[in-house]
Protein backbone atom coordinates (compact mmCIF):
# COMPACT_ATOMS: atom_id res chain seq x y z
CA UNK A 1 0.00 0.00 0.00
CA UNK A 2 1.31 3.48 -0.90
CA UNK A 3 1.03 6.25 1.66
CA UNK A 4 -1.47 9.02 1.00
CA UNK A 5 0.91 11.54 2.47
CA UNK A 6 4.64 11.17 2.81
CA UNK A 7 6.47 13.86 4.73
CA UNK A 8 10.25 14.05 4.56
CA UNK A 9 12.42 16.22 6.80
CA UNK A 10 10.00 19.11 6.94
CA UNK A 11 11.31 22.25 8.65
CA UNK A 12 10.02 25.74 9.14
CA UNK A 13 11.85 28.54 10.90
CA UNK A 14 10.73 31.95 11.98
CA UNK A 15 14.00 33.83 11.81
CA UNK A 16 16.20 31.82 14.14
CA UNK A 17 13.27 30.47 16.10
CA UNK A 18 12.21 26.95 15.24
CA UNK A 19 8.66 26.47 14.01
CA UNK A 20 9.04 22.78 13.37
CA UNK A 21 12.21 20.88 12.65
CA UNK A 22 13.00 17.81 10.59
CA UNK A 23 9.58 16.16 10.74
CA UNK A 24 9.07 12.96 8.76
CA UNK A 25 6.18 10.52 8.68
CA UNK A 26 3.94 8.53 6.37
CA UNK A 27 0.16 8.66 6.54
CA UNK A 28 -1.78 5.82 4.95
CA UNK A 29 -5.31 5.90 3.52
CA UNK A 30 -7.88 5.68 6.28
CA UNK A 31 -5.45 6.60 9.05
CA UNK A 32 -6.18 9.32 11.56
CA UNK A 33 -3.09 10.88 13.09
CA UNK A 34 -3.11 13.17 16.09
CA UNK A 35 -0.47 15.79 16.76
CA UNK A 36 -0.30 16.84 20.39
CA UNK A 37 1.89 19.22 22.30
CA UNK A 38 1.54 22.36 24.34
CA UNK A 39 0.96 25.82 22.87
CA UNK A 40 3.99 26.89 20.88
CA UNK A 41 5.24 23.36 20.35
CA UNK A 42 4.99 23.84 16.58
CA UNK A 43 2.00 21.62 15.96
CA UNK A 44 -0.02 24.30 14.20
CA UNK A 45 3.01 25.39 12.19
CA UNK A 46 3.46 21.80 11.09
CA UNK A 47 -0.22 21.45 10.17
CA UNK A 48 -0.15 24.65 8.13
CA UNK A 49 2.99 23.52 6.30
CA UNK A 50 1.37 20.19 5.52
CA UNK A 51 -1.81 21.82 4.27
CA UNK A 52 0.00 24.24 1.98
CA UNK A 53 -1.01 27.24 4.04
CA UNK A 54 2.55 28.03 5.05
CA UNK A 55 5.69 27.54 3.01
CA UNK A 56 8.22 25.29 4.73
CA UNK A 57 11.91 26.18 4.59
CA UNK A 58 13.02 22.65 3.87
CA UNK A 59 11.65 19.22 3.25
CA UNK A 60 8.99 17.56 1.14
CA UNK A 61 5.27 17.00 1.53
CA UNK A 62 4.39 14.29 -0.97
CA UNK A 63 0.70 13.75 -1.57
CA UNK A 64 -0.65 10.82 -3.54
CA UNK A 65 -2.62 12.64 -6.22
CA UNK A 66 -5.32 10.84 -8.18
CA UNK A 67 -3.75 11.62 -11.53
CA UNK A 68 0.02 11.53 -11.06
CA UNK A 69 0.80 9.58 -7.90
CA UNK A 70 3.09 11.11 -5.31
CA UNK A 71 3.65 14.83 -5.90
CA UNK A 72 5.52 17.33 -3.74
CA UNK A 73 2.91 19.88 -2.74
CA UNK A 74 5.60 22.32 -1.63
CA UNK A 75 7.03 22.68 -5.12
CA UNK A 76 3.88 22.16 -7.17
CA UNK A 77 2.34 25.25 -8.75
CA UNK A 78 -0.03 27.34 -6.71
CA UNK A 79 -3.09 26.64 -8.90
CA UNK A 80 -2.51 22.91 -8.45
CA UNK A 81 -2.12 23.28 -4.72
CA UNK A 82 -5.24 25.40 -4.45
CA UNK A 83 -7.10 22.87 -6.56
CA UNK A 84 -6.11 20.19 -4.05
CA UNK A 85 -7.35 22.50 -1.32
CA UNK A 86 -10.79 22.55 -2.95
CA UNK A 87 -11.01 18.89 -3.85
CA UNK A 88 -8.89 16.23 -2.15
CA UNK A 89 -8.00 18.25 0.93
CA UNK A 90 -10.14 19.80 3.58
CA UNK A 91 -9.19 22.12 6.41
CA UNK A 92 -11.30 22.41 9.53
CA UNK A 93 -10.43 25.48 11.56
CA UNK A 94 -10.67 25.77 15.30
CA UNK A 95 -12.90 28.80 14.96
CA UNK A 96 -15.77 28.09 12.61
CA UNK A 97 -15.87 31.69 11.50
CA UNK A 98 -12.40 31.28 9.98
CA UNK A 99 -13.68 28.44 7.86
CA UNK A 100 -17.16 29.66 7.01
CA UNK A 101 -18.54 32.57 5.06
CA UNK A 102 -20.61 34.17 7.75
CA UNK A 103 -22.62 36.28 5.31
CA UNK A 104 -23.68 33.31 3.21
CA UNK A 105 -26.45 30.83 4.04
CA UNK A 106 -25.66 27.34 5.33
CA UNK A 107 -26.61 25.91 1.94
CA UNK A 108 -24.37 28.36 0.14
CA UNK A 109 -21.50 27.54 2.46
CA UNK A 110 -21.80 23.84 1.74
CA UNK A 111 -22.44 24.43 -1.95
CA UNK A 112 -19.41 26.65 -2.46
CA UNK A 113 -16.96 23.81 -2.89
CA UNK A 114 -19.30 22.11 -5.34
CA UNK A 115 -19.62 25.28 -7.38
CA UNK A 116 -15.86 25.76 -7.16
CA UNK A 117 -15.36 22.47 -8.97
CA UNK A 118 -17.93 23.32 -11.62
CA UNK A 119 -21.38 22.31 -10.32
CA UNK A 120 -23.88 24.49 -12.18
CA UNK A 121 -27.24 22.98 -11.34
CA UNK A 122 -28.95 24.81 -8.51
CA UNK A 123 -31.31 21.96 -7.67
CA UNK A 124 -28.49 19.42 -7.45
CA UNK A 125 -26.29 21.71 -5.39
CA UNK A 126 -29.10 22.43 -2.96
CA UNK A 127 -30.08 18.78 -2.64
CA UNK A 128 -26.49 17.85 -1.90
CA UNK A 129 -26.17 20.67 0.61
CA UNK A 130 -29.30 19.51 2.43
CA UNK A 131 -28.08 15.94 2.42
CA UNK A 132 -24.83 17.05 4.02
CA UNK A 133 -26.55 19.24 6.58
CA UNK A 134 -28.52 16.20 7.65
CA UNK A 135 -25.37 14.12 7.86
CA UNK A 136 -23.95 16.62 10.32
CA UNK A 137 -27.27 16.74 12.14
CA UNK A 138 -28.44 20.16 11.04
CA UNK A 139 -32.15 20.27 10.20
CA UNK A 140 -33.13 20.83 6.58
CA UNK A 141 -35.13 23.94 7.45
CA UNK A 142 -31.94 25.72 8.51
CA UNK A 143 -30.48 25.51 5.00
CA UNK A 144 -31.19 29.17 4.23
CA UNK A 145 -30.10 30.52 7.61
CA UNK A 146 -26.76 32.20 7.99
CA UNK A 147 -24.12 30.65 10.24
CA UNK A 148 -24.31 33.68 12.50
CA UNK A 149 -27.70 32.35 13.62
CA UNK A 150 -26.14 29.00 14.60
CA UNK A 151 -24.69 27.84 17.91
CA UNK A 152 -20.96 27.18 18.17
CA UNK A 153 -21.40 23.43 17.81
CA UNK A 154 -23.65 23.82 14.78
CA UNK A 155 -21.20 26.20 13.17
CA UNK A 156 -18.46 23.64 13.63
CA UNK A 157 -20.61 20.90 12.14
CA UNK A 158 -21.48 23.19 9.24
CA UNK A 159 -17.79 23.77 8.67
CA UNK A 160 -17.25 20.04 8.54
CA UNK A 161 -20.11 19.56 6.05
CA UNK A 162 -18.73 22.36 3.90
CA UNK A 163 -15.35 20.66 3.87
CA UNK A 164 -16.45 17.11 3.25
CA UNK A 165 -19.03 17.73 0.53
CA UNK A 166 -16.54 17.21 -2.28
CA UNK A 167 -15.41 13.88 -0.81
CA UNK A 168 -11.86 14.85 0.14
CA UNK A 169 -9.31 12.17 0.97
CA UNK A 170 -7.30 14.08 3.54
CA UNK A 171 -8.71 16.32 6.24
CA UNK A 172 -6.60 18.69 8.30
CA UNK A 173 -8.14 19.70 11.59
CA UNK A 174 -6.86 22.37 13.91
CA UNK A 175 -8.32 21.91 17.39
CA UNK A 176 -11.71 20.95 15.92
CA UNK A 177 -13.35 20.65 19.30
CA UNK A 178 -11.59 23.58 20.96
CA UNK A 179 -13.89 26.15 22.46
CA UNK A 180 -16.93 23.87 22.50
CA UNK A 181 -18.89 22.58 25.47
CA UNK A 182 -17.93 19.06 26.49
CA UNK A 183 -21.35 17.68 25.55
CA UNK A 184 -21.09 19.32 22.12
CA UNK A 185 -17.53 18.01 21.80
CA UNK A 186 -18.69 14.45 22.35
CA UNK A 187 -21.33 14.77 19.66
CA UNK A 188 -18.81 16.21 17.25
CA UNK A 189 -16.28 13.48 17.98
CA UNK A 190 -18.88 10.81 17.36
CA UNK A 191 -19.83 12.47 14.10
CA UNK A 192 -16.21 12.74 12.98
CA UNK A 193 -15.52 9.11 13.82
CA UNK A 194 -18.52 7.98 11.81
CA UNK A 195 -17.56 10.12 8.81
CA UNK A 196 -13.95 8.99 8.92
CA UNK A 197 -15.07 5.36 8.80
CA UNK A 198 -17.82 5.79 6.19
CA UNK A 199 -15.75 7.88 3.81
CA UNK A 200 -12.44 6.16 4.46
CA UNK A 201 -10.92 9.54 5.26
CA UNK A 202 -7.40 10.14 6.36
CA UNK A 203 -7.04 12.93 8.85
CA UNK A 204 -4.43 14.88 10.72
CA UNK A 205 -5.75 16.41 13.90
CA UNK A 206 -3.88 18.99 15.91
CA UNK A 207 -5.05 19.30 19.47
CA UNK A 208 -3.82 19.65 22.99
CA UNK A 209 -6.69 17.56 24.30
CA UNK A 210 -5.44 14.02 24.94
CA UNK A 211 -8.97 12.70 25.38
CA UNK A 212 -9.83 13.85 21.87
CA UNK A 213 -6.89 12.06 20.29
CA UNK A 214 -7.56 8.91 22.28
CA UNK A 215 -11.02 8.73 20.77
CA UNK A 216 -10.26 9.93 17.26
CA UNK A 217 -6.69 9.20 16.36
CA UNK A 218 -5.11 5.89 15.41
CA UNK A 219 -1.63 7.29 15.72
CA UNK A 220 -0.05 10.03 17.69
CA UNK A 221 2.86 12.37 17.26
CA UNK A 222 4.05 14.30 20.31
CA UNK A 223 5.76 17.62 19.64
CA UNK A 224 7.90 19.76 21.85
CA UNK A 225 9.77 22.91 20.82
CA UNK A 226 9.29 22.15 17.15
CA UNK A 227 10.59 18.59 17.35
CA UNK A 228 8.72 15.32 17.24
CA UNK A 229 9.77 13.65 20.48
CA UNK A 230 7.67 10.53 20.24
CA UNK A 231 5.25 8.85 17.89
CA UNK A 232 3.36 5.62 17.72
CA UNK A 233 0.01 4.01 18.25
CA UNK A 234 -2.23 6.41 20.15
CA UNK A 235 -3.03 4.19 23.10
CA UNK A 236 0.55 2.96 23.32
CA UNK A 237 1.94 6.51 23.44
CA UNK A 238 -0.63 7.55 26.04
CA UNK A 239 -0.46 4.41 28.20
CA UNK A 240 3.23 3.63 27.91
CA UNK A 241 4.91 6.94 27.04
CA UNK A 242 8.64 6.59 26.41
CA UNK A 243 9.81 10.18 26.30
CA UNK A 244 10.06 12.28 29.42
CA UNK A 245 7.98 15.06 27.94
CA UNK A 246 5.18 12.70 26.95
CA UNK A 247 5.21 11.19 30.43
CA UNK A 248 4.86 14.68 31.85
CA UNK A 249 2.08 15.52 29.42
CA UNK A 250 0.11 12.38 30.17
CA UNK A 251 0.53 12.68 33.90
CA UNK A 252 -0.56 16.31 33.81
CA UNK A 253 -4.06 15.51 32.59
CA UNK A 254 -6.67 16.08 35.26
CA UNK A 255 -8.59 12.95 36.03
CA UNK A 256 -12.36 13.24 36.02
Amino acid sequence: MTPLLKVNNLSKFYGNRIGCNDVSFDLYPGEVMGIVGESGSGKSTLLNCLAGRLEPDAGEVLFHTRADGLRDTVTMSEPERRMLGRTDWAFVHQHARDGLRMGVSAGGNVGERLMAVGARNYGDIRAKAIDWLERVEIAEDRVDDRPSAFSGGMQQRLQIARNLVTGPRLVFMDEPTGGLDVSVQARLLDLLRGLVREMGLSAIIVTHDLAVVRLLADRLMVMKSGHVVESGLTDQVLDDPQHGYTQLLVSSVLQV
Binding site: Y28, E31, S183, A186, R187, L189, D190, R193, R197, R214, L215, D218, R219, G232, L233, D235, Q236, D239, D240, Q242, H243, G244, Y245, Q247, L248, S251
Partner: protein, 227 residues
Protein backbone atom coordinates in the same frame (compact mmCIF):
# COMPACT_ATOMS: atom_id res chain seq x y z
CA UNK B 1 -1.47 -18.45 16.70
CA UNK B 2 0.18 -16.42 19.46
CA UNK B 3 3.90 -16.94 19.86
CA UNK B 4 5.87 -14.96 22.47
CA UNK B 5 9.63 -15.32 22.76
CA UNK B 6 12.11 -13.88 25.21
CA UNK B 7 10.01 -10.83 25.94
CA UNK B 8 11.39 -8.07 28.14
CA UNK B 9 10.01 -4.82 29.37
CA UNK B 10 11.11 -1.96 31.59
CA UNK B 11 9.59 1.36 32.51
CA UNK B 12 11.79 4.45 32.58
CA UNK B 13 10.39 7.27 34.68
CA UNK B 14 12.05 10.34 33.20
CA UNK B 15 10.39 12.71 35.60
CA UNK B 16 11.45 10.78 38.63
CA UNK B 17 15.18 10.94 38.22
CA UNK B 18 15.15 8.56 35.28
CA UNK B 19 14.30 5.61 37.49
CA UNK B 20 14.39 2.34 35.52
CA UNK B 21 11.91 -0.30 36.60
CA UNK B 22 12.41 -3.66 34.88
CA UNK B 23 9.15 -5.62 34.91
CA UNK B 24 9.74 -8.53 32.59
CA UNK B 25 12.57 -10.61 31.14
CA UNK B 26 12.60 -13.81 29.13
CA UNK B 27 8.83 -14.04 28.79
CA UNK B 28 7.86 -16.88 26.46
CA UNK B 29 4.45 -18.28 25.69
CA UNK B 30 2.69 -20.06 22.87
CA UNK B 31 -1.02 -20.44 22.25
CA UNK B 32 -2.45 -22.67 19.52
CA UNK B 33 -5.72 -22.07 17.69
CA UNK B 34 -8.64 -23.35 19.76
CA UNK B 35 -6.58 -23.17 22.92
CA UNK B 36 -7.28 -21.03 25.98
CA UNK B 37 -4.39 -20.13 28.26
CA UNK B 38 -4.85 -18.52 31.66
CA UNK B 39 -2.27 -16.12 33.00
CA UNK B 40 -1.81 -16.58 36.73
CA UNK B 41 0.40 -15.07 39.35
CA UNK B 42 0.07 -12.77 42.30
CA UNK B 43 -1.35 -9.33 41.87
CA UNK B 44 1.38 -7.11 40.39
CA UNK B 45 3.25 -10.04 38.89
CA UNK B 46 2.70 -8.62 35.41
CA UNK B 47 -0.37 -10.37 34.01
CA UNK B 48 -1.98 -7.16 32.78
CA UNK B 49 1.35 -5.80 31.56
CA UNK B 50 1.85 -8.91 29.44
CA UNK B 51 -1.69 -8.67 28.07
CA UNK B 52 -1.14 -5.02 27.18
CA UNK B 53 2.14 -5.83 25.46
CA UNK B 54 0.45 -8.52 23.40
CA UNK B 55 -2.18 -5.99 22.39
CA UNK B 56 0.51 -3.47 21.44
CA UNK B 57 -0.65 -1.12 24.14
CA UNK B 58 2.70 -1.33 25.95
CA UNK B 59 5.94 -1.22 24.05
CA UNK B 60 8.21 -4.26 24.33
CA UNK B 61 11.91 -3.58 24.93
CA UNK B 62 13.13 -6.92 23.66
CA UNK B 63 11.94 -10.23 22.24
CA UNK B 64 9.04 -10.85 19.91
CA UNK B 65 5.26 -11.15 20.08
CA UNK B 66 3.92 -12.90 17.02
CA UNK B 67 0.17 -12.86 16.49
CA UNK B 68 -0.42 -14.57 13.17
CA UNK B 69 2.51 -13.24 11.18
CA UNK B 70 2.68 -9.79 12.77
CA UNK B 71 5.37 -9.09 15.38
CA UNK B 72 3.82 -6.58 17.74
CA UNK B 73 7.20 -5.73 19.21
CA UNK B 74 8.24 -4.28 15.86
CA UNK B 75 5.11 -3.56 13.85
CA UNK B 76 4.12 -0.18 12.43
CA UNK B 77 1.08 1.43 14.02
CA UNK B 78 -1.04 0.70 10.97
CA UNK B 79 -0.07 -2.97 11.03
CA UNK B 80 -1.09 -3.17 14.67
CA UNK B 81 -4.33 -1.37 13.89
CA UNK B 82 -5.13 -3.77 11.08
CA UNK B 83 -4.33 -6.67 13.39
CA UNK B 84 -6.62 -5.29 16.07
CA UNK B 85 -9.36 -4.74 13.53
CA UNK B 86 -9.23 -8.17 11.94
CA UNK B 87 -7.34 -10.63 14.09
CA UNK B 88 -6.79 -9.66 17.68
CA UNK B 89 -9.67 -8.87 20.01
CA UNK B 90 -9.37 -7.48 23.50
CA UNK B 91 -11.96 -7.41 26.24
CA UNK B 92 -10.67 -5.04 28.87
CA UNK B 93 -12.10 -4.50 32.30
CA UNK B 94 -13.30 -1.06 31.44
CA UNK B 95 -15.53 0.19 28.71
CA UNK B 96 -14.08 3.17 26.89
CA UNK B 97 -16.41 4.71 24.33
CA UNK B 98 -17.39 8.02 22.80
CA UNK B 99 -20.12 9.47 24.97
CA UNK B 100 -23.60 9.70 23.44
CA UNK B 101 -23.19 6.72 21.10
CA UNK B 102 -26.05 4.19 21.49
CA UNK B 103 -25.17 0.82 22.97
CA UNK B 104 -26.24 -1.00 19.82
CA UNK B 105 -23.74 1.00 17.77
CA UNK B 106 -21.01 0.50 20.35
CA UNK B 107 -21.42 -3.26 20.01
CA UNK B 108 -21.77 -3.20 16.22
CA UNK B 109 -18.74 -0.98 15.65
CA UNK B 110 -16.09 -3.75 15.47
CA UNK B 111 -18.16 -5.42 12.75
CA UNK B 112 -18.57 -2.17 10.82
CA UNK B 113 -14.80 -1.74 11.07
CA UNK B 114 -14.23 -4.99 9.19
CA UNK B 115 -16.72 -4.03 6.51
CA UNK B 116 -19.84 -5.87 7.67
CA UNK B 117 -23.04 -4.13 6.52
CA UNK B 118 -24.99 -2.04 9.02
CA UNK B 119 -28.01 -4.36 9.04
CA UNK B 120 -26.03 -7.51 9.62
CA UNK B 121 -23.85 -5.83 12.25
CA UNK B 122 -26.90 -4.61 14.15
CA UNK B 123 -28.47 -8.05 13.95
CA UNK B 124 -25.39 -9.61 15.53
CA UNK B 125 -25.26 -6.83 18.14
CA UNK B 126 -28.92 -7.36 19.08
CA UNK B 127 -28.31 -11.07 19.40
CA UNK B 128 -25.34 -10.59 21.74
CA UNK B 129 -27.01 -7.93 23.86
CA UNK B 130 -30.02 -10.18 24.20
CA UNK B 131 -27.92 -13.14 25.25
CA UNK B 132 -26.09 -11.00 27.80
CA UNK B 133 -29.42 -9.87 29.24
CA UNK B 134 -29.10 -6.17 28.52
CA UNK B 135 -32.73 -4.97 28.47
CA UNK B 136 -33.78 -3.89 25.00
CA UNK B 137 -34.94 -0.49 26.23
CA UNK B 138 -31.29 0.36 26.98
CA UNK B 139 -29.95 -0.45 23.52
CA UNK B 140 -30.61 3.00 22.15
CA UNK B 141 -28.89 4.67 25.10
CA UNK B 142 -25.22 5.34 25.61
CA UNK B 143 -23.60 2.79 27.93
CA UNK B 144 -21.73 5.55 29.75
CA UNK B 145 -24.71 5.90 32.07
CA UNK B 146 -25.04 2.15 32.80
CA UNK B 147 -24.16 0.31 36.00
CA UNK B 148 -20.76 -1.37 36.30
CA UNK B 149 -22.11 -4.83 35.52
CA UNK B 150 -24.07 -3.61 32.53
CA UNK B 151 -21.05 -1.78 31.18
CA UNK B 152 -18.97 -4.92 31.55
CA UNK B 153 -21.52 -6.94 29.60
CA UNK B 154 -21.71 -4.32 26.84
CA UNK B 155 -17.93 -4.49 26.73
CA UNK B 156 -18.05 -8.26 26.35
CA UNK B 157 -20.71 -8.06 23.65
CA UNK B 158 -18.49 -5.60 21.78
CA UNK B 159 -15.45 -7.85 22.24
CA UNK B 160 -17.24 -10.93 20.92
CA UNK B 161 -19.12 -9.21 18.07
CA UNK B 162 -16.44 -9.98 15.52
CA UNK B 163 -15.10 -13.57 15.43
CA UNK B 164 -11.45 -12.72 16.17
CA UNK B 165 -8.95 -15.55 15.56
CA UNK B 166 -7.05 -14.40 18.66
CA UNK B 167 -8.50 -12.90 21.82
CA UNK B 168 -7.28 -11.35 25.05
CA UNK B 169 -9.70 -11.44 27.97
CA UNK B 170 -9.03 -9.40 31.09
CA UNK B 171 -11.30 -10.62 33.89
CA UNK B 172 -14.29 -11.23 31.64
CA UNK B 173 -16.44 -12.71 34.39
CA UNK B 174 -15.64 -10.23 37.14
CA UNK B 175 -18.65 -8.42 38.60
CA UNK B 176 -21.13 -10.66 36.77
CA UNK B 177 -23.99 -12.61 38.36
CA UNK B 178 -24.21 -16.39 37.90
CA UNK B 179 -26.55 -16.23 34.94
CA UNK B 180 -24.44 -13.78 32.96
CA UNK B 181 -21.23 -15.50 33.98
CA UNK B 182 -22.63 -18.63 32.38
CA UNK B 183 -23.38 -16.72 29.16
CA UNK B 184 -19.85 -15.32 29.00
CA UNK B 185 -18.26 -18.74 29.61
CA UNK B 186 -20.48 -20.04 26.82
CA UNK B 187 -19.21 -17.33 24.50
CA UNK B 188 -15.62 -18.25 25.35
CA UNK B 189 -16.30 -21.92 24.67
CA UNK B 190 -17.89 -21.05 21.34
CA UNK B 191 -14.86 -18.96 20.42
CA UNK B 192 -12.55 -21.85 21.30
CA UNK B 193 -14.67 -24.20 19.29
CA UNK B 194 -14.34 -22.05 16.18
CA UNK B 195 -10.55 -22.09 16.66
CA UNK B 196 -9.78 -18.85 18.46
CA UNK B 197 -6.53 -18.70 20.41
CA UNK B 198 -7.33 -17.10 23.76
CA UNK B 199 -5.23 -15.66 26.56
CA UNK B 200 -7.13 -14.69 29.67
CA UNK B 201 -6.85 -13.44 33.22
CA UNK B 202 -9.45 -15.06 35.45
CA UNK B 203 -9.55 -14.59 39.17
CA UNK B 204 -12.61 -16.78 39.17
CA UNK B 205 -10.98 -20.22 39.72
CA UNK B 206 -14.00 -22.25 38.65
CA UNK B 207 -14.30 -20.33 35.43
CA UNK B 208 -10.60 -20.74 34.79
CA UNK B 209 -10.76 -24.48 35.27
CA UNK B 210 -13.76 -24.77 33.02
CA UNK B 211 -12.54 -22.87 29.92
CA UNK B 212 -8.76 -22.89 30.17
CA UNK B 213 -6.57 -25.67 28.85
CA UNK B 214 -3.39 -24.49 30.56
CA UNK B 215 -2.16 -22.06 33.16
CA UNK B 216 0.99 -19.95 32.77
CA UNK B 217 2.42 -18.36 35.87
CA UNK B 218 3.85 -14.98 34.85
CA UNK B 219 5.96 -14.89 38.02
CA UNK B 220 8.42 -16.89 35.95
CA UNK B 221 8.82 -13.93 33.59
CA UNK B 222 9.94 -11.57 36.34
CA UNK B 223 13.40 -10.05 35.88
CA UNK B 224 15.90 -12.02 37.99
CA UNK B 225 17.78 -9.03 39.37
CA UNK B 226 14.75 -7.52 41.00
CA UNK B 227 12.95 -10.72 41.96
Amino acid sequence: MIEIRDLSKEFVLHNQGGAVIPVMAGGSLSVAPGECVALVGASGAGKSTLMRMIYGNYLANGGSILVGDVDLARAEPREILALRREVLGYVSQFLRVVPRVPTLDVVAEPLLNVGVGVEEAHERARDLLGRLNIPERLWALSPTTFSGGEQQRVNIARGFAHAFPAMLLDEPTASLDAKNREVVLGLIEEAKARGAAIIGIFHDKAARERVCDREVDVTGFAPKAVA
